[in-house]
């Protein structure tokens, strides 16, 4: 398993938006990779840069005002940040496809579901209209839309949110991409269909060896679907590791806060835990750890220096000074604080 090559390798990626108020660094120096055939989960606070990261991979950052200001994105070894728009059009849909967070914005309200699905096939694959139609119906059925033939002639507004999302997944999968980026693919869906969709994605992952980058805020979904997890906060990766390790031993105080905020269906709490404070405005924190202002463990150093990612175990790393092993006393501190909370 460890011998699999990364399909996607992102290094030092920086993306900024240039607005009236100046530069907004939405993604600030992030590293991660997706190995062939694996399911990687990306979780993090709303606005932390997850969608911007995936749009960068797709070459879809609106420019202006957006711009990739540094770093590299390698898909099967090919550098994408410098690829031409023509090349990117070829890559999109064929090698990497994306399911968007808001299906209504990516489905054209003026065209039928059928024509949009067929277009997706016709653009990339050889084959005539008849084959494209057959494939479109096949895909609609594959994602659990029973009345596929009827749906071909319907318009996006006639579908429920969940049905639209399944159409999006069908559209993303028509060309058998190597990497599927799914940005909150199941947030609009109820759980039984979510379970079906996640199972469907897992099946596509296993049978077709499609690597999946799954962006979600649902830690339950991550726990059930992903092998590895990247936790992002304010444009940075703050923790990454195997899903089992992250849930068993969440290290970054932010990750711990996230896990505690989940309403547990199995019993009712009067009040949910919530991390105090708000996400900082991108670029507003000039020095120190970006989570420091909201962190109950923060100490002087956190306000002064930007913590690096510390490797805390095999395949598990955390961007937090509590895990700086070079200092005996901090290490000691860490053990007691974390254990008692």
């Amino acid at each position: 398993m460890t011998t699999k090559d990364p399909v996607l390798q992102v290094k030092g990626l920086k993306v900024s938006f240039f607005t009236d108020d100046g530069e907004v660094p939405a993604v600030d120096d992030i590293d991660f990779y997706v190995k062939e055939g694996e399911v990687l989960g990306i979780v993090g606070e709303s606005g932390c840069g997850k969608s911007v990261t995936s749009l960068s991979v797709m070459g879809l950052i609106p420019s202006p005002p957006g711009k990739i200001t540094g770093g590299e994105i390698k898909l099967n070894g090919e550098e994408l940040t410098t690829a031409s728009e023509k090349r990117m059009r070829k890559i999109r849909g064929n090698d990497v496809a994306m399911i968007f967070q808001e299906p209504m914005t990516s489905l054209n309200p003026l065209f039928t579901i059928g024509s949009q699905l067929m277009d997706a096939t016709l653009i990339h694959k050889k084959g005539d209209k008849k084959q494209a139609k057959k494939r479109a119906i096949e895909m609609l059925k594959l994602v659990g839309l029973g009345r596929a033939e009827e749906l071909m002639n319907e318009y996006p507004h006639q579908l429920s949110g969940g049905m639209r999302q399944r159409v999006m997944i069908a559209m993303a999968m028509v060309c058998d991409p190597k990497l599927l980026i799914a940005d909150e693919p199941t947030t609009a869906l109820d759980v039984t269909i979510q379970a079906q969709i996640l199972k469907l994605m897992k099946r596509l992952n296993e049978e077709l060896n499609t690597a999946i980058m799954l962006i979600t805020h649902d830690l339950g979904v991550v726990a059930e679907t992903c092998e590895r997890v990247v936790v992002m906060y304010a444009g940075k990766v703050v923790e990454n590791g195997l899903a089992v390790d992250i849930f068993k031993d969440p290290q970054h105080p932010y990750t711990r806060g996230l896990i505690q905020s989940v309403p547990d269906m199995r019993y009712k709490k009067q009040r949910l835990y919530s991390i105090p404070g708000n996400v900082p405005r991108p670029g507003s924190i000039k020095k120190g750890c970006r989570f420091a202002a909201r962190c109950e463990f923060a100490f002087e150093r956190c306000l002064q220096e930007d913590p690096p990612l510390y490797k805390t175990a095999e395949g598990h790393s955390t961007r937090c000074f509590l895990f700086d092993d070079t200092k005996e006393d901090t290490l000691h501190d860490k053990d007691t604080t974390i254990a008692t909370s």
């Binding site: 967070q101 429920s160 547990d264």
Partner: protein
């Protein structure tokens, strides 16, 4: 106790959308998006509505506000029959009844600044001076965890979660009595989600707000709701307090729903009831109980007779033949089913 006085009464509400086909676009059938839903909501309570994608939750929510007109049925809000109001009266009523929409992007005007979007409902209802309105915009941006500088920005400059908070702030602007929140936190990550849920609860206590919360996340629904209604294919199939629903779900669909909730623990092995088959088309719903095509406990009667919503225990309603007298024989099933969830 004022809590038991119904603020909203919904009776046999239906929405059938015409299905058009052929070259002439003639009506060839109906999508029975909502097909006879009844419930009440008491003052100060939160009613959760959950159910399969496409089962008619949003359509139900929109009909309550008459954002779409119902085909049949009656909605009574605060003693007024909403379904019979003139457009003018309806506009006044909307001050007391607000909606938070499912798709935060589609519901915010992209050409307006957030400040303008938030001020709009106050202007429409002629509330406050310009300065007062601006002040309230700032106040509410902060209440929902944004900052006053965001008022100058446009919707596309926000992330999905941030946009949803703008939608919530907008609904709160006129200090309504009832808020219908359609998936209010589904676009939010858990930490903001818990803030928004706590915020909704605080506002409820402070202003005596009443909520209808439509959501697919059963953890969220359980947390925030006093009672929960479960919908399937345009119908309500179970309705009870959130404790009873989670402790002892009666309808097999509810049981499957509960068991499909993902648990944030990769090592947790759960007994999920995997539903077979597709959701039937609402333009051609199965006869009898509409769930029979996917139900693991289907009996002969289920294909023929529509089960009525009956009170099986105090305050616990379900529409399922497994629990009707004529089907005493099936009662052993019940125990087995009840234990299967989660």
């Amino acid at each position: 106790m004022t809590k038991t006085q119904p603020l909203l009464q919904v009776e046999n509400l239906k929405k059938h959308f015409p299905v058009r086909g052929g070259v002439l676009g003639k009506q060839v059938g109906n999508v029975k998006a909502v097909d006879g839903v009844s419930f009440t909501v008491n003052k100060g309570e939160t009613l959760g509505i959950v159910g399969e994608s496409g089962c008619g939750k949003s359509t139900t929510g929109r009909m309550l506000l008459r954002l779409i007109e119902s085909t049949e049925g009656k909605v009574v809000f605060d003693g007024k029959e909403v379904t019979a109001l003139s457009q003018n009266e309806l506009r006044k009523l909307r001050r007391d009844m607000q909606m938070v929409f499912q798709d935060p992007f589609a519901s915010l005007n992209p050409r307006h600044t957030v400040g303008k979007i938030l001020e709009e409902p106050l202007k429409v209802h002629g509330i406050g001076s310009s300065a007062e309105r601006k002040k309230r915009v700032k106040e509410l941006l902060e209440t929902v965890g944004l900052s006053s500088y965001h008022a100058k920005r446009y919707p596309h400059q926000f992330s999905g979660g941030q946009r949803q908070r703008i939608g919530i702030a907008r609904a709160l602007m006129t200090r309504p009595k009832l808020i219908i929140a359609d998936e209010p936190v589904s676009a939010l990550d858990v930490s903001i989600q818990s803030q928004v849920l706590n915020l909704m609860q605080d506002l409820q206590k402070e202003f005596g707000l009443t909520y209808i919360v439509i959501a697919h996340d059963l953890g969220v629904v359980r947390h925030i709701s006093d009672r929960v209604g479960v919908m399937y294919l345009g119908k309500m199939v179970e309705l009870t307090t959130s404790e009873k629903l989670y402790d002892k779900p009666l309808h097999p669909y509810t049981q499957a729903l509960l068991s499909a909730v993902p648990v944030p623990d990769p090592l947790f092995k759960k007994d999920s009831i995997v539903l077979q088959g597709d959701i039937p088309s609402p333009s051609n719903p199965p006869p009898g109980c509409t769930f029979h095509t996917r139900c693991p406990f289907k009996m002969d009667v289920c294909e023929k007779k529509v089960p009525q919503m009956l009170e099986h225990e105090e305050g616990h309603y379900a529409a399922c033949h497994l629990y009707t007298e004529e089907k005493q024989g099936a009662s052993q099933n019940k125990e087995m089913v009840g234990g299967g969830a989660v």
